[in-house]
């Protein structure tokens, strides 16, 4: 396989506070290939925004490294590396400087990365705004007079200004109304095709992930619990947590209800928190086996290229899967090389 555009190796991030350490990411390996859209889904607190921040270099990882086209990125990045990865934030109102006009905000990357001489910048910004479907007459206005959808498009134009190789989208539509969300999603699809970009797409909405992403990774408490092609992870998840995520999606037709995985909402589960040596999802999992609380489930790869850390995913393939999981867990214990992850 070709060198991935972005790869992370054993990425961890700890936050220290007076109340102790928070392990926001615990050894995450992610690969984003050229032209791919990889969705990172999970609840709040799963570490998905932390992952985005580390990839962008906004925060430094505690351990592990981030590779851009196979080259490790240093803690302090060169301008060219910064330019290669751009961000579209969740809330563009707080990400756009209220004192700057739209021209100044979108034109800033042009100046910082010396992409256009001063005289041509205005014309270029006009082009960029046109690409995202905004009228040129907003050039000299300020972000607060724009609607939420327009601001998000300004943020996309700003990311495009740097002519990046990949865009990191941090919940780009979760603050928008459905009607506006639809427009921004279409724009993102369109832009990706036109500029053959790659997206690392952080979201909590699996339905939105389905629109954009080829591949999904599911994060839970800083660990990847499952990854695979979008439709499979969404509609036939192998990890119990992905099943819960998918089945809690509110949908609008009976057809879609039938597609969602089953979930036992009534079975009582133990307390919300509480860490254990086993699968981090055990306390919330109504299907947890004894082994789930004791041992970390190993990574099991299915013939269809899907991988998940789960002892008891529960469907037709379950028996085979469980056997594989238990076996590979035993092998691991025997070799006592349980230093991390395969």
């Amino acid at each position: 396989m070709s060198t991935p555009l972005i790869a992370t190796r054993g990425l961890t991030k700890d936050f220290f506070s007076r109340r102790g350490v928070v392990n926001a990411l615990k050894g995450v390996d992610v690969e984003l290939h050229e032209g791919e859209v990889l969705a990172v889904v999970g609840e709040s607190g799963s570490g998905k925004s932390t992952l985005a921040n580390l990839v962008l270099g906004i925060q430094a990882p505690t351990t592990g490294e981030i590779l851009l086209r196979g080259k490790p990125l240093p803690a302090v990045r060169r301008a060219a590396d910064r330019r290669a990865l751009q961000l579209v934030p969740q809330n563009p109102l707080s990400a756009l400087n209220p004192r700057r006009t739209i021209f100044e905000s979108v034109g800033l990357p042009l100046a910082v990365h010396q992409l256009r001489p001063r005289a041509e910048r205005r014309e270029r910004v006009r082009e960029l705004l046109e690409m995202v479907g905004l009228p040129a007459d907003i050039l000299d206005r300020q972000p607060q007079v724009l609607s939420g959808g327009q601001r998000q498009r300004v943020a996309i134009a700003r990311a495009l200004a740097a002519e990046p190789q990949a865009i990191i989208l941090d919940e780009p539509t979760s603050a928008l109304d459905v009607s506006v969300q639809a427009r921004v999603l279409r724009l993102l699809v369109d832009i990706r095709q036109r500029f053959s970009l790659s997206y690392l797409f952080v979201t909590h909405d699996l339905a939105v992930a389905r629109i954009l992403a080829n591949r999904v990774i599911v994060l839970y408490k800083g660990e990847i619990v499952e990854s695979g092609p979008t439709s499979q992870v969404l509609l036939a998840p192998r990890h119990r947590y992905s099943q819960m995520l998918s089945s809690s999606l509110p949908v609008i037709s009976q057809e879609e209800v039938a597609l969602k995985p089953e979930w036992n909402w009534t079975k009582k589960v133990t307390a919300e928190s509480g860490s254990s040596a086993g699968c981090p999802f055990t306390p919330r999992c109504p299907y947890a086996l004894d082994v789930c609380g004791r041992e970390r489930p190993p990574l099991v790869t299915s013939p269809t290229g899907r991988t998940a850390h789960c002892f008891n995913p529960g469907d037709d393939e379950t028996e085979a899967w469980r056997a594989a999981a238990v076996q590979s867990s035993q092998t691991k214990t025997l070799q006592s090389t349980d230093t991390g992850r395969s």
């Binding site: 609840e43 709040s44 609607s147 109304d177 459905v178 009607s179 506006v180 969300q181 639809a182 427009r183 999603l185 279409r186 699809v189 909590h204 909405d205 699996l206 339905a207 939105v208 389905r210 629109i211 969404l234 509609l235 819960m244 995520l245 089945s247 809690s248 999606l249 509110p250 949908v251 609008i252 037709s253 057809e255 879609e256 597609l259 969602k260 909402w265 009582k268 307390a271 919300e272």
Partner: protein, 328 residues
């Protein structure tokens, strides 16, 4: 629609505000009814007047700015011209509200226990502190909070969003209200927590026999929760139907557009945006307020379309679905 048995009856409610820019006209001829124990949803984009409507029901609007006409009756009493003191007695006892974001709606400087005591021992009641604590604890247990003592002793910021949401729900139900209003409950939360919150609200309203009016922009939430739905656009009810009918066959072009905008789990089509924006209420469009964004608009839409009953449980305010004149 003059059913005497309705718990809430809103009749041709018009609401505007005196603003610096002029007089705005937010709600136009909104009529809505709720039977005891019924779960009804009010759905529409943000800026459609849904939250303002809830505030109007509760009497939380600034009387110096709001201009209101129409009738609101609750449990046989007129709410709209009730004295504020009277209304205050109803709020929290007979009508309560669950807010969108529980972490900001709960008071950060009091423990959950203190806040429960405030509600349960409100003036005019005679519950002892011990009884209040016991009730609070029991109610928390009923929403699957096992360690209710820990939760009661916590401040809201020490609890997760999901726990806070459950606390909010139980608080709203703790005085056994007849009507619970819910303003986008759970939108600020994760889908998993939202799903659980909806389930709890359904269970709790059923257990207490409370009626519920849920305001949301999320059609999926509506489908899971409501028995009957009102679709609101720019302060007008454009469609009213049972949830089943609405999801089976949305009629109004706005409702259809809303459905088309939702990302689906099936099919290869991208969600369809709705062109344009929710209008400014100072100068709303003439006639049907949706017509500037509507693909089917014609001159006929320049006259406000009445909400026409097309079946016993269903009304649509659109010329496309108005009965032809000769049939009338």
């Amino acid at each position: 629609m003059t059913a005497g048995g309705n718990l809430l009856e809103v009749d041709n409610l018009n609401l505007g505000f005196r603003l610096f820019e002029g007089r705005s006209a937010v709600l136009r001829d909104v009529s809505l009814s709720l039977a005891p124990g019924e779960r009804v949803a009010l759905v529409g984009e943000s800026g459609c007047g849904k939250s303002i409507f809830l505030r109007a029901l509760l009497g939380l609007l600034d009387p110096r700015k709001a201009v209101m006409s129409g009738k609101i009756s609750f449990d046989g009493r007129r709410l709209d011209n009730m004295k504020e003191g009277e209304r205050a007695k109803l709020r929290g006892r007979d009508i309560s509200i669950i807010f969108q974001d529980p972490t900001t709606a709960l008071n950060p400087v009091f423990t959950i226990r203190d806040q429960f005591r405030d509600i349960l021992r409100r003036p005019g009641t005679s519950m002892s502190v011990a009884d209040a604590d016991r009730t609070a604890s029991d109610m928390l247990k009923s929403v699957y909070i096992d360690d209710s003592e820990r939760v009661l002793n916590s401040y809201p910021f020490q609890l997760s969003g999901g726990l806070n949401q459950r606390v909010m729900i139980t608080m709203a139900l703790s005085n056994k209200p007849k009507l619970v209003l819910a303003d986008e409950p759970g939108t600020a939360l994760d889908v998993t927590v939202q799903e659980q919150a909806l389930r709890l609200m359904r269970e709790a309203t059923e257990a207490h026999g409370a009626a519920m009016l849920l305001v949301t922009h999320n059609l999926g939430v509506v489908r899971e929760f409501a028995e009957r739905v009102y679709v609101m656009y720019a302060g007008c009810v454009v469609e009213e139907a049972t949830a089943e009918e609405l999801f089976d066959d949305p009629k109004h072009p706005y409702t259809r557009a809303l459905f088309a905008a939702v990302p689906r789990l099936v099919g290869g089509a991208l969600p369809e945006p709705i062109d344009g924006m929710v209008p400014d209420f100072v100068a709303p469009p003439q006639g049907c307020r949706f017509h500037p964004r509507c693909a089917f608009a014609s001159e006929r839409c320049l006259v406000p379309p009445p909400l026409v009953e097309i079946s016993a449980s269903r009304s649509v305010a659109c010329v496309l679905h108005a009965p032809a004149r000769q049939e009338v």
